[in-house]
Symmetry: D3
Subunit: 257 residues, 6 copies
Amino acid sequence: MTDSVLMAEMTWPEFEARVAAGAPVFLPVGATEQHGPHLPLGVDVFLPSHVAASVAAEVGGIVAPCIPYGYKSQPRSGGGQAFPGTTSLSAHTLSLVIKDVVHDLGLHGARRFVILNGHFENAWPAVEGLDLGIRELRRDGIDGVTALRLEYWDFVKRETLDRLFPDGFPGTDLEHASLLETSLMLAIRPDLVRMDRIPNDGPADFPTYDRTPVWPDRVPPSGVLARAQGSTAEKGQWLLDDHVPLIAAAVRAEFGL
Amino acid sequence: MTDSVLMAEMTWPEFEARVAAGAPVFLPVGATEQHGPHLPLGVDVFLPSHVAASVAAEVGGIVAPCIPYGYKSQPRSGGGQAFPGTTSLSAHTLSLVIKDVVHDLGLHGARRFVILNGHFENAWPAVEGLDLGIRELRRDGIDGVTALRLEYWDFVKRETLDRLFPDGFPGTDLEHASLLETSLMLAIRPDLVRMDRIPNDGPADFPTYDRTPVWPDRVPPSGVLARAQGSTAEKGQWLLDDHVPLIAAAVRAEFGL
Amino acid sequence: MTDSVLMAEMTWPEFEARVAAGAPVFLPVGATEQHGPHLPLGVDVFLPSHVAASVAAEVGGIVAPCIPYGYKSQPRSGGGQAFPGTTSLSAHTLSLVIKDVVHDLGLHGARRFVILNGHFENAWPAVEGLDLGIRELRRDGIDGVTALRLEYWDFVKRETLDRLFPDGFPGTDLEHASLLETSLMLAIRPDLVRMDRIPNDGPADFPTYDRTPVWPDRVPPSGVLARAQGSTAEKGQWLLDDHVPLIAAAVRAEFGL
Amino acid sequence: MTDSVLMAEMTWPEFEARVAAGAPVFLPVGATEQHGPHLPLGVDVFLPSHVAASVAAEVGGIVAPCIPYGYKSQPRSGGGQAFPGTTSLSAHTLSLVIKDVVHDLGLHGARRFVILNGHFENAWPAVEGLDLGIRELRRDGIDGVTALRLEYWDFVKRETLDRLFPDGFPGTDLEHASLLETSLMLAIRPDLVRMDRIPNDGPADFPTYDRTPVWPDRVPPSGVLARAQGSTAEKGQWLLDDHVPLIAAAVRAEFGL
Amino acid sequence: MTDSVLMAEMTWPEFEARVAAGAPVFLPVGATEQHGPHLPLGVDVFLPSHVAASVAAEVGGIVAPCIPYGYKSQPRSGGGQAFPGTTSLSAHTLSLVIKDVVHDLGLHGARRFVILNGHFENAWPAVEGLDLGIRELRRDGIDGVTALRLEYWDFVKRETLDRLFPDGFPGTDLEHASLLETSLMLAIRPDLVRMDRIPNDGPADFPTYDRTPVWPDRVPPSGVLARAQGSTAEKGQWLLDDHVPLIAAAVRAEFGL
Amino acid sequence: MTDSVLMAEMTWPEFEARVAAGAPVFLPVGATEQHGPHLPLGVDVFLPSHVAASVAAEVGGIVAPCIPYGYKSQPRSGGGQAFPGTTSLSAHTLSLVIKDVVHDLGLHGARRFVILNGHFENAWPAVEGLDLGIRELRRDGIDGVTALRLEYWDFVKRETLDRLFPDGFPGTDLEHASLLETSLMLAIRPDLVRMDRIPNDGPADFPTYDRTPVWPDRVPPSGVLARAQGSTAEKGQWLLDDHVPLIAAAVRAEFGL
């Protein structure tokens, strides 16, 4: 038990001791969202939870329970809310959840936070929730909080992307249920990947703006925005071999660990 | 993959097919809360998630991701917010989360809900969140929703309680981190139970009212409100052997399954 | 005028003087809710207001105006929202009302509060409202608040219940518009009780869970969940003879009066 | 019982029958606010409740429980929030209360509303709450609501004001705890008026704007903004003899009663 | 650039320097609302912006950007929400906007505020927003804020009104899109006034209460509540010659400028 | 008057006629935010207002008043909230403003919306506000709304960026108060640009994550994140020559104009 980085698996005295010793607390923020016919709805929970646990193990951190529902899926980055199973929070709700969690963790002594996002659309509600939580802590007399907020996929080397996309990286937005996420899932939960169902109806081709209602024909019917073909567990491991140490390095640098 | 009852492990077409076939959707509502020095902070997530998955397996249901943060712990039922690690949502936030989740699931075709609560203090915010979600669905033209809302521990036979508590059942409120929860954890996650740390500072003795700030000496320092001594995996199994079939029977009866 | 315990009947200098002298402020929280064909919609206002005034008279307290609208009636404890006249607040609204009132009273010097609940479903929104009010006072620099929060019906001796229910007490939930409330109303407002209209369609028989929409046949059409037959003013007086001194004793003990 | 116009004193079948017959529902909106050293904190509850009951008796209406906490007292019209005992709701809270009450009454069949305001500062939160309630009813499919919203003191004849103020009417704003309210209280609750404490520190002299913090010397220390000298029960009756029939006439005209 | 009183035209170092020197910050609060067939929808933005800039020029103030959407138009003072183009905020939204703006300006050092209202219905949401902003600043440790809140039209001499309305001033409420506003617009934006379209369907004749839905025949179809005939730029200038110096005098007096 | 595209300059009958004829309504969403020592705080209002008006003129559209306060400035894209003058709304407030405006415009007949964003951080609150507004319109029975949501700077040709940045485009985030915005301001409001104050303390060098509190040394003290040197009105015109026709083309295509 005491070896776990998961807050859910710690007793309260264990948690108290680690926080008192300066352990950074990672808060993964996920989503329940369609990821094509070959990946499960929980991809955006599995991946940031895995990355957070791996980083926390390296830096002596604690992983708070992942928030499993995220902000509304957008057509241009996640296919949109119309896909069955995509179950989301309003921006205000998600921000309040993050505010409340950050606030209570702060009251319990946590002073180092890492909000680790695993769902593109969560970024801004997470910015707001974190800001509200820190403001409220300040009003409760708690000042010395330092918090990082990041998307795990931003921690990747240029050469890794080049290796993965010899023809050019299509960009983070379109990488929904595509090569990156599929490879990562193959690396950490291969039992949940159905390679035989990878669709071939992409890539999506979006203009540079949003439209409501979404265009009837721009989102591939599968929900896969780019291409998942060619995904392998090995490629997923390449990514993890960037994500985990690069995030760990940032955490160490910022918190002087 | 297709055998899983976990929504997080289903693809969206799988989810769509099951919901279209009338599968009830279980939403476990948990908490991150102190459970004494011998149980982990995630007890109120592990237990309702396990019960929900077991019932869902029996009735052909789907288990949506457990909400891992619950309403503020109360001294008389959970020791209170002061224990390190007890990380909670305000009532409004929790109700909004449940509202949003119920609403989106309803938009995706779910018509049968089971809100399965695993944390005493969640009951009323769950009542409200469910009511708000159903009202909003109605305003969006979706009418035929039926929802059950329950605490899993209420599904127990009198004789089981008598067997567990030959000297009399102290009541649900005080059963925090005590015999019932400890036995259940021994049954499903024995690796997370530290029998050697079971404290002996209870049981709590509360008057019939709340006080803020909490009395300095009424909450046992360990956070265990009654007694955990005598907990065994076998007793936990007795409880599961009530909880799962009794809830399944209610679900079948209400939904005509 | 100066003898009244009712805040509404005091001038502001009188209120100021009493609060400065440490008078506890009672805030009754009521409801406007069906209470069968023999009791009026205001039962949950009349009863806690009466109890609060009686206790306040004993302990030198002040009774703030009763909040006359409460949280949504639940089928299993109040018949539900469908009965004409049951007029309720959402949980968030009720919590905000209590927060605002507690906050302002605190700004005016009140440091001892008794939230005295007269409607089962109010309990949790009152917990939350009180917590929010005290948090906000703390942010405004006001720290020394002590608050009790109680349901008046919990202050009853075992022997009184035994005397009232020789065949066994059916439990607080079902005691809606039944023997206890009817007897209490006979004791304090007999003009509002129509003994000839006491129905005979109960008692309700609920399972251990909620259902939305409510079962078509489990709530007695009268709205009386248990039985009101046998109610007398004398029995109501037995209850008051428990409620008032027992609450007064708790208030004195907690506030050192 | 059946003769009462007070919703709190009706059973639900009585309420149902009256509403079904088209009875207008009066919702008095009050306040708990300083009214000088000679009047109690509940003036703004007593007066609109009395007027509402009187009008309802004339037109066959129902009086819902008065909301006893109102919007924040303003220095220029009520002395401001600094007077002990002035206990207020934020605008949002008050609007939500009115929204919820109107909404539930509408669900129960009420189609004719009279929001009868007794506290100057409530006017706009009442406008908003009523608008929100009616919008929400419309979204729930209930369309035929008609609602009046009024301040009772606007229903007065010019000649009555001339009789009361031979030297000229100072205006509604300043008439706080002054001649009008004192006379009305003398007419309906003389036991709560302390004529010997009428102060002599007014009238207030305000510029045409608000200032925060309030000017240290513009609000009379007593909280009486104009003058209460000369108040009599007879004058209060003059006012009631305008208020009640004039409001009743408006209600009859608008609702075709 | 440096001569402008408009915050939007200042660089941040310029703004910082002026605020540090004690410059009062004017926040005009406007509306987008029908103003008859002869005046544009932006009247309630143009007028308070102009007045604020003129006063700021006199007193060394800064004009923050005008909030261009105001509270819901009321039939008795603005014709109501049904007129095409009347685009409004809910009271809560408007109060939050003012709260946020006041709060951030306070964090940046502003200590002297003038909330300058240009739309009748904004008054109370502005009161609330300002109160919330100042409370929040106090919780953030910022105490020395002084704020004025005013309607510009209240700064007019009796003799000017007499000159403008030889037959008697109909009152501020009805002066919607009528002589005052039309004359003011002729003085500052004559290009936006279509004198040939001034209607003749007023004046409105309202009772002393609100009604929802609005009476079908009391609001003149043009939306002009009183009369606009006889408006001239000269009369507008008379008004400006009152508004600007009188407000400037109040600002100077209150802030010791 | 009738030629103006500005809603603020239209009368309500003019607005009504244009909306009835299918005119798209542009809602610019701006900010009041530091833009270095050489640009004014209103850049994010001036630019989207100008672009919106230009596009509206081309496509027969209407420009609603620009929302002049935006979401909180982020250090990595706008320097952050600490710069004097940066005056922002919380995400919830901004979303509510957009919701209310979209809702009311929809009630008045607008069916084609273009939310035209001029401040990077506004993107997500605008997504949410638009979604909430459209949902609410749907609940009010209004279904046929089509809305575009865009950042104006995304409408630029690759070759234009290549021409502007021969050494490579640093990316939109860093282009705060830098070459693009400075050139655009030189093109439309040269009077507000102080070329002699362009600082030389950039470009900023940010890691791929946020930090609270912001790093003490990563944000250039001037607030200019990249470089503004070399800005010219001509370059601004190049940009406008992309922005306006490209957005107009998208609007025409989507709305079939």
